[in-house]
Symmetry: D2
Subunit: 360 residues, 4 copies
């Protein structure tokens, strides 16, 4: 065992886990979760650009859990025989790695975007590159347990949902499924923290650029758009079209999606209470979803795997509004990935996942 475990509990036989691309923020969050997870042992943690460096020098937050452990350089052999491998790689890299390791390991949970879209032709359109293994797209489960749990349970390749997409889809799916909102012309106005942009320094993520600043980005062209439409379509049968506009705000973590739709004929008489009931009913047995009249806030979910939702129907304009909040590195990435791994491995879905936010 390479990592000291905390709170490990008494699981007899632990599953072996690997993290390919452990030096990014989703990788670090996976290490935070898995070093405290009672059923997984991290056997491998690769980070090519950081290979040989002490993990704790890059992430002092992990010092007590990882000691003097260093990042491994990746090779397919390294993960041979592991029960689960998480990939925390940049876009376009996973599609080169997954085919090399998929046969060697129990299951792959990919946190990138390379296996999220079913239609390979969307990759050149939205990502500017051809997909190099389109034959794998159909086999990947879309890793949003609340909507695709059965697919995930049966899969050996799970494409964890994008953080913005997860927030948007969880907000919009129930009302679309209930047929009370028109599926076209949906608006997702989303505010996100900076960690979603990853660890490497960029001009738009320096402190002096971000602090005291709010700005919209990716106007009309953000890559999570087709993912949102595809998942809503798949989960609800409605041919959704979405105008998705993310905004960057001075937060480390957190996404708040404020979503707007026009009522369908069936939704014409919908009240706020009706909308809240539809949301609550849809997520009744979900362990990580809170539906309440309270306005969700990113801070309430920081560090936890929770997602908070509310809804309003505006009697003045007729518009329907759903608001969702989650932590982009948890329920929007690594927490969701661990939730998927729990499902894939037949564990209790909630094991090792904090439900309480770190507040304040």
């Amino acid at each position: 065992m390479l990592f000291r475990m905390t709170d490990a509990g008494s699981h007899d036989s632990k599953r072996s886990a690997g993290i390919v691309g452990a030096s990014g923020y989703t990788g670090a969050e996976l290490m935070r979760l898995l070093t405290a997870h009672p059923a997984f042992d991290i056997k491998v943690a690769t980070g090519d650009s950081q290979a040989g460096q002490r993990i704790a020098d890059l992430y002092p937050s992990l010092a007590l859990a990882v000691g003097d452990r260093t990042f491994d350089p990746f090779s397919p052999d390294l993960v041979d025989g592991l029960d689960v491998v998480f990939c925390g790689l940049p876009h376009g890299v996973s599609m080169g790695v997954v085919p090399k390791i998929q046969e060697r390991v129990g299951a792959v949970i990919d946190l990138g975007s390379d296996f999220r879209l079913l239609d390979a032709s969307l990759y050149p359109e939205w990502y500017g590159e051809e997909h190099t293994c389109p034959e794998l797209l159909r086999s990947a489960a879309y890793g949003l347990p609340e909507l695709f749990r059965d697919d995930i349970r049966a899969a050996t390749l799970v494409a964890a949902t994008g953080c913005n997409a997860a927030t948007s889809i969880l907000a919009l799916a129930p009302l679309l499924a209930a047929g009370v909102v028109e599926p076209d012309g949906l608006i997702v106005n989303l505010v996100t923290g900076v960690s979603g942009a990853g660890r490497p320094p960029k001009e738009h993520t320096t402190f002096c650029t971000v602090d005291e600043n709010v700005t919209a980005y990716g106007l009309l062209t953000h890559r999570h758009t087709p993912e949102i439409e595809q998942a809503l379509n798949q989960a609800t049968g409605a041919p959704a079209s979405v105008l998705f506009t993310p905004h960057l705000a001075p937060l480390n973590r957190g996404i708040l999606a404020t979503c707007y739709g026009r009522p369908s004929d069936r939704g014409r008489a919908l009240s706020t209470e009706d909308a809240l009931e539809i949301l609550a009913g849809h997520y009744r047995s979900e362990p990580f979803v809170v539906v309440d009249e309270r306005s969700p806030s990113t801070k309430a979910v920081l560090g936890s795997n929770a997602v908070h939702l509310t809804a309003r129907v505006d009697p003045r304009t007729g518009l329907i509004m759903v608001i969702a909040a989650l932590d982009n590195l948890m329920k929007g990435a690594s927490g969701m990935a661990v939730q998927c791994a729990n499902i894939v491995c037949g564990l209790d879905e909630t094991v090792g996942l904090p439900t309480v936010g770190v507040y304040p």
Copy 2:
């Protein structure tokens, strides 16, 4: 002369100014602007709750400009004969003060909400209280120079626009006036900093509540809604209805409004270039408005009287989007008030107003 002037220039005869309610954030910002303004002398600065306290103890930022000056207790006699009086009072207080001073002074610039709505019946509906001097409402000019400059020039009572309303109106008016956007079901999704909530401590404005947090508030019921609708209607003739949803983000200053509308019949073929041209044309000669393809950001306008605008037309959903950014204490309050005072006093409208933001 009570205040030391900086950069005062060589104006022969200065106008005398008073600030009633100088201890709040808009009052402090007025002192920042007016102590450096070449054409105004602050003769009176009242703050009843702080009367007798050194201004610099409450606002050390003003120390070099105000020395040992203290806040005055308000009385109508105190402002007698002043050229301009700015009121930075809480909602519901101005309507008690303005009738007592209006005859004694050259002009009143009210920064509160008490004289913004033409229809007195909207006060009990949106503010929960009857208006006590509804006869003054028709005489007040709405203090948004870009749309109501002539009214302001002729007025002795100016109701400076609410900060959220100013941002929303400046964003939406040009496309409505051009007839390319449907006036009903407009959506204003706005992110605002904390200074808009004022200086007195409240549970929702403590650092630990706000920092690392984004949350929507005032869902369906925010008081700036009727003001936005009224001004859009007045300025463009279009019977606008708006769903206005503000969000609080961890910023001191700044408002970013992301506005959405459906194209009208005339706007069906509108392109992004068309929309940008309409905006640019509408504000061509405005000294404080920037129209550009760049995505506006709150930080770019911090501390200045500038407002930045852009627009997009989404070919996928047909929706039209306009984004506006301003500093809520400047162009959204005290800067706009000084701009109005410049107009009322026949000065160059831009005098004493910074156009360059403090960045970073």
Copy 3:
């Protein structure tokens, strides 16, 4: 059982716990820790000012863990027979409550300052009030396990260390105990986040006061001064005198103490390596202490019970510097309190305490 547990594990007989004063930040943090703790059940959570209110309405971060549970109004009967009671009360209130409950419960862990000072005469001097039960002061263990573990194990009343004091003492004790630093004229220059000031809104804790601001406060007179001196004296035998200067910075959580001392005769030839070795040796077997050459940072310990330390000896001035970082609500308050409760109850000291920080 009133609270849903997460990750509860398989402890046969759980200890019953109560939180008196659960509505403050240390109370909320105790709920975060104890609802996930495998060996404690929260039976009581009082909050007089919030009694009857849903806990999740005040702390939505706890929604999944506490459901519709409300704050209880305090009465001594309510805690009768509990194994451990945590008091998260304002200064001066604990000394009224502890005598009423001490005989009824297994142990009391007080997070306030009322039982920290051995010399009752220091209370009027530093806190401005006489102590009302000075006879209890000698019986209270000082709740800093790294230095007073045996006292804590034997105690039924534990006074958890103040957050600033804990950071300062953990930094300075090893070099004082080693006799290499002069005990008089020590300087503790500390930067702290805002949550240490508690939940109720105050002028100096509003977002607009704190954000983009750093300022020193409590100059010469901060109340943690005598606590630091007393503990250093007790733990090391050295008659320490300290100039303690805290600074408020725009952080939710975190304390960084930069401590300076002059070398003693024995410390004249001390090198940085020597100083680091003394620190490392002193804390060799401590589960929550990291000693490293890296400069500690508050963010690395956020949300965890870790404390990070480093040291330097300046060959130019001869001065010795020790830097320590911890999370004021964790290792500086509620985490330390749970660590003490684990000790008092004979549990593994680390149970239920995260060692990995939430980063970024």
Copy 4:
């Protein structure tokens, strides 16, 4: 005239100014100040890495002042005949540029470190490189007007003080000059915002690294140390030795220096009142210095050229403490540089320099 002026006033003959290295933060701040300065015209603004780019695309905050102006590529000819040239270049670059332009222009104000140290041998020791034009070092005035005004007035090359150094020197010089503090073993514990690290993205300046974080850096080895010692020595005659420890906090702008010294024999009976009087007396006629019992705060000086000071004498330890706050881009860099330029050009020293901070 390349730039539109705001508030330009009525100066008959403007001085021509150039900014070499205008694309960094000090360059942008110079453009903010000089576009509103009544006596300077910016004729040249070079930024080699950004040459040809619209200034407003890099700094939208300048949009109204610079229009479509682009950054120029640098050549010595470009600045030929200008009255003043400001250099905002990285360390080591100025010493290559200044010799090429010094004879062509009225005066050079260098904001870098290349001409700050009198002793050329300190460059390899603290900066790791030999100085390439050591003969110029003696001719450069040290650009801290409060202490070296006469030198500046007579100079054609001014080396503007480093931001950390300026804060430290202004805090310590008066008590050293008064002989009440021992000159050796001085401690400067300083907290600084992020803009001091410049515009280019670095690992330690990303938002996710800095936000919610405080950490000390440059332990024992920060380059401003010899500059502080040299200036204190020059200004006061005392052979100062300083342990300088900067800390990075989540601020855009601002430096707070908390300085500690031991009393000299003459300072043995010094009281806090005495210390405050020495400070006040030393800076009595300074237009930008505020001495007060209030604890200085970085936010009070944000955006202004003010420096705030206080002092305390601790009767318990005998230690003397001086605290100073300034805005690192204003009084710590570009504001100071304009102040120097005003002096060099025989203008009123305060022209064009805001004294009021942007608050909140």
